[in-house]
Subunit: 213 residues, 2 copies
């Protein structure tokens, strides 16, 4: 598995929120946006915002801030969100269906071409316009669709066996929503999404709140 | 809104993954676990793991590592996961239903007592044993259930108006799954969950992979 420099990861995580705010400034026809304004919107320190944005290679101007259009382009280019990426979703349960319907992804170039499931009642139907296909067709389906990303939303006991099919079919990046640590060959990217992380942050803030009140 | 020290947030985010691995060691009847082992499992640097665990107040012993039982207790106590917390879920769509079924939360003390929705077909039914109630009963329902947390999974256009009801009903912590930046009075904790953050990390790793190959 490849490793992302840990020191970078929190900055990368924040870039989508920045993009959201900067796009708002674009819709307001602002030419510049200051790091301080972004920081205020997101409850962050201005120095943190400037450091985070620096990884995209862009530098703000004193007093004026960042030029809006080039800043959007710099973030999108840094994230590769200016390119289209073909994906499949594996496991069209509640979470899978929610992810298919998440419109932000489309805007970031993530194109979910098909979902795969074992439920005969779902196979042949569509969720938000995306066809649900038979899990038995997973391997040939991926090859045929030239998908490079798989969103893995199967029940955890099936996660590793499904991953082996994904890798065999040519998937190079797995967004793992199960709570299994997947074993994959070198060169395969795995990003595990853990909802408990967000709950940990909420929990610590709740304790801080109680300590202060 | 309260602010969590940003420098701490990435460490807090990683604690649940550590807990997962340390519990595995507990099941194997290990008395000690080393920071290096945790680091290897999660593809992190050992120094990062030691720094992260230090925020819970625990220190490892040279060569032996961390005592497993006290380490679990220290993390759970730091996160407040040794306490039960009462919650409601607002908006029982696909994402909401997926969250209700997410069993990890139960183990972390998060107790979802009821869900609220506007769909007459859902009202009166249950999802994973949690009753779906009429959204019209949201305010009295929260008061009656003594809930302090709300998981907000309504469609984004309804996010702010719903938040105002939540605050009026006495909710003090909102886990926000919409893409709206909520306006709340001082003293209310809001944790926004942004799935685009995880996709940003995956995207950057995909670009790094291509650059290396």
């Amino acid at each position: 598995m490849l490793k992302i420099k840990v020191s970078y990861a929190p900055s990368v995580r924040r870039l989508p929120s920045y993009l959201h705010i900067i796009r708002q400034a674009e819709r307001n026809h602002d030419s510049y946006i200051s790091g301080t304004v972004i920081a205020q919107e997101l409850n962050l320190e201005p120095i943190q915002v400037r450091k985070d944005l620096a990884i995209t290679g862009i530098v703000g101007k004193p007093k004026k801030g960042y030029p809006v259009e080039p800043l959007i382009k710099a973030i999108e280019c840094y994230l590769g969100w200016d390119q289209q990426r073909e994906a499949v979703l594996v496991g069209a349960g509640n979470l899978g269906s929610a992810l298919i319907g998440y419109q932000e992804f489309q805007r970031h170039g993530l194109h979910i071409l098909a979902a795969f499931d074992t439920d005969p009642q779902k196979i042949g139907s569509q969720v938000h316009g995306v066809p649900i296909r038979d899990m038995k067709e997973l391997e040939p389906g991926i090859t045929e669709l030239h998908a490079e990303i798989a969103l893995l939303t199967v029940p955890s006991p099936f996660a590793q066996a499904t991953t082996e099919i994904l890798v065999r079919a040519g998937i190079t990046s797995i967004w793992n929503f199960t709570n299994i640590k997947l074993k994959v060959p070198d060169g395969i990217v795995v990003q595990r999404e853990d909802l408990s992380s967000g709950y940990a942050l909420l929990s610590v803030q709740m304790l801080n709140r109680k300590a202060r009140s």
